[in-house]
Symmetry: C2
Subunit: 183 residues, 2 copies
């Protein structure tokens, strides 16, 4: 099983403002899922895993962004009901357990989303790929993409491209921390 | 007068570890001043402005990195003596005052360095250009390149290139905040 992050950030590394809004990401033409590569990326995943905060941000959107792709929401509490036709399930547990359960269910490529969830899975060494689109603005505060790590996490740069509107999209593979874990 | 930042960071935005060391930046071949563009950049500046912390980090280096280019160190306290042949002067004041004094002295292109100093001058709307080289590693904590801002600072993406070792170097012009200031 494979896990990927596909995320937009400000140049100073925020995926949202303190209140969860992310107007600064969608101002440019990179908000277009075709031109920023999101549509092509999303076609390769068969399941979405997000934190409860992200779910509650996405829920009021006029259109549910994930179609019929199953969405698992990490939470210990019951979820607000999903939109009609959305496929949403609550899941709880530590990152290893959660991925094991998704694997048992037959899923092969997980789209991991939400600041806290991404950080938690990165720390656990369970993210394979990161596609980060940096929008040329400094917002100064908010929900950070990255957080603390137990030790350096090395990545391999795969490719970088410029999008319209001045956003820069870089793709990285995480060098698997297996060695570190067995030290 | 023009002000530029030329800086390396981890993918999570740190220019140094909590203790001021930046081994994670120099591991790759991007540490080479010729290949990462630093030498060409440095040839265009006629003065360096840095915070006291940066000065004290650079001071013990086996070779003073700035040659005979004048270096102004922002500090209210007397400085440790510079290496022989280095041209170092203490300066104090708010960002506007400091740049006015450098301009009065005939300088035309200031290389602004050091996390706190960069943040202070960005907040004051006094940085024109940023060249950021992102090294593909997450270090989790340390001295951040960016800090809080009073309001969004928009930038214009100029160019991005990939360096050897997986670093990605992006150049931005800051959109001048003159309008914001007069609101």
């Amino acid at each position: 099983m494979r896990t990927s992050v596909f995320v937009g950030t400000s140049l100073d590394g925020f995926i949202a403002r303190p209140d969860g809004t992310f107007d600064f990401l969608t101002g440019g033409s990179d908000a277009d899922g075709a031109s920023n590569g999101f549509d092509a990326f999303f076609a390769t995943v068969d399941v979405v895993l997000m934190g409860r905060n992200t779910y509650e941000v996405v829920l009021p959107f006029p259109a549910w962004p994930y179609g019929r792709t199953p969405v698992f929401v990490l939470s210990n509490r019951p979820l607000p009901p999903p939109p009609r036709d959305a496929v949403v399930e609550q899941i709880a547990g530590n990152p290893d357990e959660v991925l094991a359960r998704l694997s048992d269910r037959g899923f092969e490529h997980v789209y991991v989303d939400g600041g806290a969830t991404i950080q938690q899975f990165l720390r656990a060494g369970l993210i394979h790929r990161l596609v980060i689109t940096r929008v040329p603005v400094l917002v100064g505060s908010g929900i950070a993409l990255f957080g603390s790590v137990d030790s350096d996490i090395r990545l391999k740069h795969v490719a970088t491209r410029e999008l319209r509107g001045g956003a820069v999209q870089s793709e990285y593979e995480v060098e698997r921390p297996t060695d570190t874990k067995t030290e």
